[in-house]
């Protein structure tokens, strides 16, 4: 199998080439980084719902829909991409999703370990170091091939990532930024420096060879580049980018497996309750409650928010009722059950 080390390439090629490779019937491992930043959404996402398209347009940040799964991400030259294309019948592409992810991400985990970062695989397709995500991955079946794409994160602009996503308000964005900063780490943050990219790529190729067999450095065939230009026409058109995707009734951003920032609302008889929640492994880490309901004494609302931290949503109603009793709370038309309702987030 061939490895195509393409260095830093125009941003569009950092997406189109791995879509083109399987379409000309070729397998291989592509290593590259985009020369300039862009936003990339998952195949089934809804661009207008996920991305602040106006902001991206104003800033000249392109937005692209990829053919593989996962969520919206901010990508730039501080991320080294690996893009693996295997025929579906390849031995390394056999088994269920978790088996394949575990097998194909092992070389990435070992690359991090080789440079001194204690990375580990976290199902279903995250790689974490010290509990923080350090690589994002997605997969798809394209033209009879399994395509796995992911990155080594050398450095990351957490602020820009939280800026390019569409969020309900600045409060949500602040929580998103804080949660991203706390839960997404980088090689620079872990080591204090970034090893030379050539060094990282050499380790990565060696580790992929242990799973895939020998990888021959090669020039990307001209027909792959030609197919990429053909795909460019379709994949940069508004029809492709703006096609209808998964619509959600509530706004949520998955920061890593098990860590989500979610906005929820519940209409109680006494008014609308809105909550911006950070949830980690099914527990409420942070809750911000607002709305047009009355709550006396008003200053106790902040204390209630604090009291919710660490709770499982199913324990919330009892905890809130206890809080009401302890602080003689009055909230006409809004009961502890109403607050509990807005906290019922998916596991």
């Amino acid at each position: 199998m061939n490895v195509y080390d393409l260095g830093h390439v125009p941003w569009l090629d950092s997406q189109l080439l791995y879509h083109a490779l399987p379409r000309v019937g070729e397998a291989g491992l592509i290593l590259l980084a985009p020369a300039t930043p862009y936003v990339c959404i998952g195949y089934h996402q809804d661009a207008a719902q996920e991305v602040d398209l106006n902001f991206c347009r104003e800033q000249g940040i392109p937005v692209f829909r990829r053919g593989v799964g996962g969520g919206a991400v901010y990508l730039d030259g501080q991320q080294l991409f690996y893009q693996l294309v295997l025929p579906l019948e390849h031995p390394a592409a056999q088994g269920d999703k978790e088996t394949i992810y575990r097998r194909l991400l092992a070389p990435v985990v070992r690359t991090y370990q080789a440079i001194g970062i204690p990375a580990e695989y976290k199902p279903i397709n995250d790689i974490v170091a010290g509990g923080r995500k350090i690589s994002g991955n997605g997969a798809g079946e394209i033209a009879g091939h399994l395509v796995l794409v992911g990155n080594l994160i050398l450095d990351f602009d957490h602020a820009m990532m939280s800026r390019v996503l569409r969020v309900p308000d600045e409060k949500f964005r602040d929580k998103l930024f804080k949660t991203l900063s706390e839960n997404l780490t980088t090689i620079r943050r872990e080591l204090g420096h970034v090893p030379p990219e050539d060094e990282l790529k050499a380790v990565l190729v060696r580790e992929f060879e242990s799973v895939l067999g020998p990888l021959q450095p090669a020039e990307l065939p001209a027909e792959v580049r030609a197919k990429a230009r053909e795909l460019e026409l379709r994949m940069t058109g508004a029809d492709w980018l703006m096609r209808r995707g998964k619509r959600s009734r509530e706004r949520g951003v998955k920061v890593q497996a098990g860590v989500n920032v979610i906005e929820r609302a519940h209409k109680a008889p006494g008014g609308l309750i809105r909550a911006v929640l950070v949830v980690r492994e099914g527990r409420i880490v942070d809750a911000d409650l607002s709305g047009d309901f009355f709550f006396y004494p008003a200053e106790k609302l902040a204390d209630l928010q604090q009291a919710l931290a660490g709770l499982h949503p199913e324990d919330a109603e009892a905890a809130i009722a206890e809080f009401y009793a302890a602080h003689a709370i009055e909230s006409p038309g809004v009961t502890p059950a109403d607050f509990a309702q807005v906290l019922q987030v998916p596991a």
Partner: protein
Amino acid sequence: MQIGKYNFPDDLYYDKGHNWARVEEDGTVVQGLSGFAQDIAGEILYAETPRKGRTLEQGKPFMSMESGKWVGRVEATVSGEVVDANENLEWESNLINKDPYGEGWLVKIAASDLEADLARLMRTTDPEFEPFMKDEMSKYGK
């Protein structure tokens, strides 16, 4: 037929991509994912169903679904035209997991060459069916 922990209703036809096809009284074909297929897929987070009127070709992908940040393609069990798609999947795609042979159906197809297409599919009574499924289960560690 029960194979391991999976049920394969005897009145259905199956392809090797683990899709099922049921011929309705009016001759249309309803297609879905087998109980085994939804299990190996994991929780299906989104299913993109095709528009009505789209022409399908047996064995060619016509829709996609996503689970575990993995986009999988679904192939048509028979050639023909999509006459209906399960709109409930837009909001509740895990119906495919909960009820793969019932509420989790994917599409209804007006087949263009039904008899020839059915002849290329498997029935639970075919001698090859059980060994094929057992082989697949072992591949996936099920």
